[in-house]
Amino acid sequence: MLFSIYGLISASFFMSMDAVDVAFTEAAVGAGVSPLLMLATLASVGRYQKKPTDPEIPKVALLLVIITGILLIIGTLDMPAFGAADAPAHQHVAPRYIKESPEEIGIPNMVTSVLASYRAYDTLGEVVVIFTAGIGVLSLLNFRRRRRNIHLIDDIIAIDEHKILRIVSKILIPPILIFGLYVQFHGDFGPGGGFQAGVIFAAAIILYVLFFGVKYAHQVVNQTFVRVFSAIGVLLYGSVGVVSLLNGKNFLDYHVLAENPTTAQHIGILVIELGVGITVACVMILIFFSFIENIEKVIQELRK
């Protein structure tokens, strides 16, 4: 729980640093999804484990940490002052992004234009990393044949039936999904975009699983569908690049998509953000389902 608070506070910190987009992401990820994954892990590995610790280790570690910290603080003395406009970080490509992107790309949110157009190749790499991590989780956790009947965890979910909560979440889930779509497609004009929208979407599904059980959730969100779509998102992203390659331009050069350069950029960014959103949402849902099914396995073994 403290971890979740940590996420909340760091998001408000990013907000105060003018990093709205980052605050948005941290709000969705740091406060919502990552503590839940931590707790899901704790539910399957057991919460408390008394351990015989070597008393020397913390002392040595503390010494090491203090020395490293002092060295780093000495290192900061040469760093540019906080908020200085002439810091080296603001000298190279950033002024160009700030000056040119409203004309070149034609959308007000510079973060989105840098993310999806200037540095689209970077972002493709990030999306592939997310996809790979999803595959990794799947192959690690579904190591035995998948059990069709997931009932124990559903029984537990059914014992603590919160009627009020159920109804409230039933009312809330559709607006959350719509809000996710808004974030997805409003990312050009305000804070938002595929990464955030994907996480918000996944959060809605997680809320559903926690109240209606895995069995019903499997009926709502088809697992094969999610698996296929997590790949399709990456494919959509990559195929934009391939389209521009086939038309004789550089990889991920959007100018082939339409006559008017800004329209082309618009289309390119829209498609790419869609790909990102689909992949992120599907991978998050997949990861969460894997964790939940694993808790089921652990409970089954405890019963034996």
Binding site: M1, L2, S12, F179, L302
Partner: protein, 91 residues
């Protein structure tokens, strides 16, 4: 002026709620403190949007309000699930 006072109060409140979150003693106290901090952060983001003169960023506060609810409820559910699965283990 009122905006600044509100922001400072909210910051103080978050700091105080952190004490409760650290002190516990039960897990529910911690979740309560987390919930409290969550709603305060929603408010602080909204107020800060006005303070900095960019109130069109209320989307972040809205996301926060949603995610905070999901996270509090989710943590609660996981606490319950963990407890139930261990309880039956003992019996």
């Amino acid at each position: 002026m009122a905006l600044i006072i509100t922001t400072i109060t909210l910051l103080v409140v978050i700091a105080l709620a952190l004490i409760r979150a650290f002190a516990g003693p039960t897990v529910f106290d911690r979740i309560l403190a987390g919930n409290l901090i969550g709603t305060k952060v929603v408010l602080i983001i909204a107020v800060m949007g006005f303070l900095f003169g960019r109130p069109d960023f209320l989307d972040v506060a809205l996301t926060y309000a949603l995610i905070n609810f999901i996270s509090v409820i989710g943590v609660l559910r996981f606490v319950e699930i963990t407890r139930r699965s261990r309880e039956e283990d003992k019996s």
